[in-house]
């Protein structure tokens, strides 16, 4: 396999996907039940996962897989919850993928994993808060 050719294809296509993901997350920040935007983020994560897996970029594969699973939950629930475990986490995931793809662009090497982010996405609650309460995370006790 011509790694350099595929690396360039990956960088080009992943960058487009991340831009599209960003646009869709901005839409979801305004309208949490935008089904088309949820579907787009799911597909972009899925596509990045497939490409990264083919090149052995395991850290990108793992993070995009977790985000894809997260978006699958959102598809099932019909919305992206607000707050740090909802839309906030997806924006963190997007930024994480941008950093990892940036590492590949700068070094040409597989990027090291972002363990803290992986843990945060993996351990995010699968039960979404009720919509009426989804304007933010529950207030902390004084």
């Amino acid at each position: 396999m011509d790694i350099a050719k595929y690396r360039n294809l990956f960088l080009e296509e992943a960058t487009e996907h991340l831009s599209e993901m960003s646009r869709s997350l901005l839409l979801l920040e305004k309208e949490s039940g935008d089904g088309e935007a949820i579907d787009t983020v799911f597909r972009m994560a899925h596509s990045i996962k497939g490409m990264a897996g083919s090149l052995g970029y395991d850290s990108i594969t793992e993070l995009s897989h977790l985000l894809e699973d997260r978006m699958d939950l959102c598809r099932q629930q019909g919305r992206v919850p607000a707050g740090e475990h909802g839309i906030g986490l997806l924006f963190r995931g997007l930024e994480g993928l941008e950093r990892l793809v940036g590492f590949v662009r700068e070094t040409g090497e597989p990027p090291p994993p972002d363990e803290a982010l992986i843990t945060a996405v993996r351990e995010a609650p699968v039960e979404f808060p009720e919509e009426a309460e989804s304007g933010g995370d529950p207030p902390k006790k004084a």
């Binding site: 396999m1 597909r43 596509s47 497939g50 490409m51 897996g53 083919s54």
Partner: protein
């Protein structure tokens, strides 16, 4: 030479399939990047087999398989799936897909699956 239509929204994946199968004597007669285009291209090109991603925009790969098999009974479609998509693969097989391959692609597996599907006499 067997004629193949490749459908995946990622040009990266379409190129990879092309690079795996063309040296093995297959001709990629067309590419599609969504679930609507693949049905149109199938109608236009009448390929011997389609290699189709499950997750695509506009229309999923599963819907596209259903449509192709309904319109052209006996059509041969191989699904390209990822780990963790077993339920979707089963749905695609029930919808009429003949077989599947898993990403990341192993070239030997892609070629042998394609050969096996094309050998089957429906």
């Amino acid at each position: 030479m067997k004629r193949v239509l490749v459908a995946d929204d990622a040009s990266f994946m379409r190129q990879m399939i092309r690079d795996i199968i063309e040296p093995e004597g297959y001709e990629v007669v067309g590419e599609a990047s969504d679930g609507v285009e693949v049905v149109e291209k199938f109608q236009e090109l009448n390929p011997d087999v389609v290699m189709m991603d499950i997750v695509m925009p506009k229309r999923s790969g599963i819907d596209a398989v259903k449509s192709i098999v309904e319109k052209f009974p006996g059509s041969k479609v191989v699904m390209c799936s990822a780990l963790g998509q077993e339920a979707l693969v089963m749905e695609a097989i029930q919808a009429g897909a003949k077989d599947f391959i898993v990403k990341p692609f192993k070239p030997d597996s892609v070629v042998s699956t394609l050969g096996k599907v094309l050998e089957k006499d429906d």
